[in-house]
């Protein structure tokens, strides 16, 4: 009986330590981010913009209090007053901008919702889709920072609403509008000059949803969605895709230079080379990965990573592929684990019987 009491004490304190340093500490270290279940209707973006308005209002109030405090002091130096007034002006300017952003985003996503309601004409869409092929032609040539991705399965990979938004305004759709004073500077900005009417957008998206579809393997889904920016060195994948085998070292080196050139262009576009994803599945929690891919700004405000608009199903495929690369022992672990544990259960039972036989004459 005494042994069980002692065991209970040991287990209790061990669990307190474990819960304290693992789940509890991690919940305090990382801000909790709500996901939106891979629905792209602008709710997240408008929420984000509203939060910025609230934060700016708070900062403005702080600046005003500061001024009041300074003015309350007899013969406060003039320069302090000027400084405080300038701070207020700065926050006022930021507030106007933040409020404008809320309006702009609401307007944009309302527009997207109305385009989604239009009656689409698939054959008109097919005709207009030709314009897309000017860039998305599979030539593997970098345009404005990245190699335009293949559109062969675009209708299955990405969310319909997201595609509408992307054709309407690529920077707004991928929630990186803060990077561009004008969306025309975005690598895909020219779409705004090429596809100009809402009806045209509805037609193209409907065409893609019906014709550019197909069941993708996890690796293919990953390559179409992520590889124009990210490499996976453990799977020999670079920004140019799967690395071919070369017989001659000279050819391998020539290919490597091509990769480095492509990486330099991606780096110039993104600000830094996006990280290799080989180990990402173990470096981030599942919740982080999910909310980050759905809307990168939520986890890393200001990041240049665009929202890619994957559907939930295809996010799962991307995750599966990253698991295959970054945690390949999972199937083996799950296969062997129960047997090892069973072995030690049997071991403990036999050891208990032995102990009993050894101790039977002692008390």
């Amino acid at each position: 009986m005494r042994e069980f009491k002692i065991l209970a004490v040991v287990v209790f304190f061990t669990l307190v330590v474990y819960i304290g340093v693992e789940p509890f500490a991690h919940s305090q270290m990382h801000a909790h981010v709500e996901g939106h279940d891979f629905v792209y209707d602008g709710t997240a973006d408008i929420e984000e913009a509203n939060t910025r308005v609230e934060n700016t209002k708070e900062a403005l109030k702080k600046a005003q209090d500061e001024l009041a405090k300074i003015q309350g002091i007899d013969d406060a130096p003039q320069e302090d007053i000027v400084k405080a007034q300038e701070a207020i002006k700065k926050q006022e300017g930021a507030l106007v901008k933040a409020e404008e952003t809320v309006k702009r985003k609401s307007l944009f996503w309302n527009n997207v919702a109305s385009i989604a309601q239009l009656d689409a004409n698939v054959s008109n869409g097919e005709a207009s889709f030709g314009t897309c092929m000017a860039c998305h032609n599979g030539a593997g040539i970098n345009m404005g920072g990245v190699i335009p991705p293949s559109l062969d399965h675009v209708g299955s990979l990405y969310d319909r609403n997201y595609l509408i938004a992307l054709l309407k305004d690529p920077a707004m759709a991928s929630n990186v509008d803060h990077k561009y004073a004008n969306t025309m500077m975005h690598p895909m900005g020219s779409v705004m000059a090429m596809v100009t009417s809402d009806q045209q957008i509805a037609d193209i998206v409907e065409y893609m949803m019906q014709n550019k579809v197909g069941e993708l393997e996890p690796k293919a889904a990953f390559e179409e969605a992520c590889v124009r920016c990210h490499a996976v060195r453990y799977a020999k994948i670079t920004q140019l895709g799967d690395t071919p085998e070369f017989k001659e070292e000279k050819d391998a080196l020539a290919y490597k230079i091509k990769v480095l050139d492509e990486q330099a262009l991606v780096k110039a576009y993104m600000g830094k080379l996006p990280p290799d994803l080989s180990m990402m599945i173990r470096a981030r929690s599942p919740h982080y990965m999910e909310t980050f891919v759905e809307n990168p700004q939520t986890q890393l405000p200001g990041t240049s990573m665009p929202r890619v608009g994957l559907t939930k199903e295809n996010y799962e495929k991307v995750k599966t592929y990253l698991e295959e690369v970054g945690d390949p022992s999972k199937p083996a672990r799950e296969a062997i684990g129960p047997w090892v544990i069973l072995f030690f259960v049997v071991f403990a039972v036999l050891a208990y019987l032995w102990k009993k036989s050894q101790w039977k004459d002692l008390h």
Partner: protein, 406 residues
């Protein structure tokens, strides 16, 4: 020259006895190494530690065959070569990682058991001191091992910990550079910690384990009541077959049979962690490759260093370092700070039992607060817990001085 039996067959019992005295060795170290009967499962922690150390050595040897101590290769040799190209490499790595973490849990249980039952007093001081030396060497071993995967946390924890040697306002930057072999952690740094981790420190640990066992042989193991046993008399009773009356049991096979049962239960838990919950021992941040240009948002040591880290953190630089130094050495002095004449479990020692549980709760609080961001209420609590820890030692001196002989 001693007498040798010329007719003994080579490697027969007699032949070995003449040369190695194996019967005597066996008697002294196992069959007539007497252990008190009045013990509970906490007395098995020593053997569990030995077994876990064994697992660390074996898994370490397998990892060593594929690990590459080079800043350009280390990360991939661990995360790619070992984890996906070497057969069962993942298993050895997870065993090694989980064992490195769990071994500290058992060390802490073992230490606190020693404190609770006053097993560091009156003849057992050297057991305690050699145990503390083991704790410190294990800490160095854990730290040097943590550098090897060369991830973000390896790099930044290495940076922070080696910076401590600057000595605050002493500004011993030369010493820090000498330890690192460079201005910042780099290749020279990685290879020397590799050497420490796989050679020098394990060697010292093995030596200390032998010393720890040796220091135990004469004073004998303590028991649940702190009772002073006449081992010769008790052994005589046992050998006469009066096992019920005798207060002792032989190390082998009686004591061992209980140890092995406890070990079996422990291994169920251990391998559950290895297969299903290894993440706690392998911080996600360390799966990002080391990057000297990007500091992770939170830098924290592994859980077993958090309490002393939290004693360092809440104070200004110099007092913090002094408090940290005190935390590192104070446990060594425990047998001399405790002035009580009694060897007894804490619940029989009056105020000491309160002192003991305050120590446990305070160290757990420090551990948890050491991982939390040092902001707001956590910062205040951390400071309070650190101050309490420092006050515990003069208080111990006073209350044990006042303790009456039982």
């Amino acid at each position: 020259m001693a007498h040798f039996d010329e007719n003994a067959k080579p490697f027969s019992n007699q032949w070995l006895n003449d040369r190695l005295a194996i019967d005597t060795v066996k008697r002294v170290l196992s069959t007539e190494y007497w252990i008190p009967k009045n013990i509970n499962f906490l007395w098995a922690m020593g053997m569990i530690l030995a077994a876990t150390f064994g697992l660390l050595v074996v898994s370490g040897i397998f990892l060593l065959m594929y690990y590459k101590p080079d800043v350009n290769l280390a990360f991939d040799s661990v995360n790619h070569t070992i984890m996906s190209e070497v057969g069962f490499g993942w298993l050895w790595r997870h065993i090694h990682g989980v064992a490195a973490s769990v071994v500290f849990l058992i060390i802490y249980i073992h230490m606190l058991t020693g404190i609770y039952y006053s097993s560091y007093k009156r003849g057992r001081e050297l057991i305690w001191i050699s145990g503390m030396l083991l704790f410190v060497t294990f800490s160095a071993e854990a730290f040097s091992g943590y550098m090897l995967p060369w991830g973000q946390m390896s790099y930044w924890a290495g940076m922070v910990i080696t910076n401590l040697f600057e000595g605050g306002s002493l500004h011993l930057t030369g010493l820090v550079e000498w330890i690192r072999g460079d201005y910042v952690p780099g290749d020279a740094y990685l290879t020397r910690f590799f050497m420490l981790h796989v050679f020098l420190l394990p060697l010292i640990i093995i030596g200390l384990i032998v010393f720890h066992f040796a220091s135990l042989r004469l004073p004998h193991v303590n028991n649940q009541e702190g009772e002073e046993i006449d081992f010769e008399e008790a052994a005589k009773l046992y050998k006469e077959g009066k096992k019920k009356e005798s207060k002792v049991i032989p190390f082998s096979p009686v004591f061992l049979s209980k140890d092995i049962f406890v070990m079996g239960v422990y291994f169920i838990l251990f391998f559950f962690l290895v297969f299903y919950n290894f993440d706690f021992a392998m911080d996600p941040v360390n799966f990002d490759p080391a990057d000297g240009l990007q500091t992770p948002p939170h830098i924290y040591p592994e859980w077993y260093f958090l309490w002393s880290y939290e004693i360092l953190r809440p104070f200004p630089k110099n007092p913090g370092l002094i408090a940290f130094l005190i935390a590192q050495v104070i446990f060594f002095l425990l047998p001399f700070i405790d002035r009580s004449p009694n060897v007894a479990p804490a619940h029989k020692r009056g105020l000491f039992v309160i002192w003991f549980w305050v120590l446990v709760v305070d160290m757990i609080a420090l551990t948890i607060l050491g991982k939390l961001p040092p902001e707001g209420v956590f910062n205040t609590l951390g400071t309070v817990a650190a101050v309490i820890f420092l006050l515990m030692w003069p208080i111990l001196f006073i209350i044990t001085k006042l303790e009456k002989k039982l």
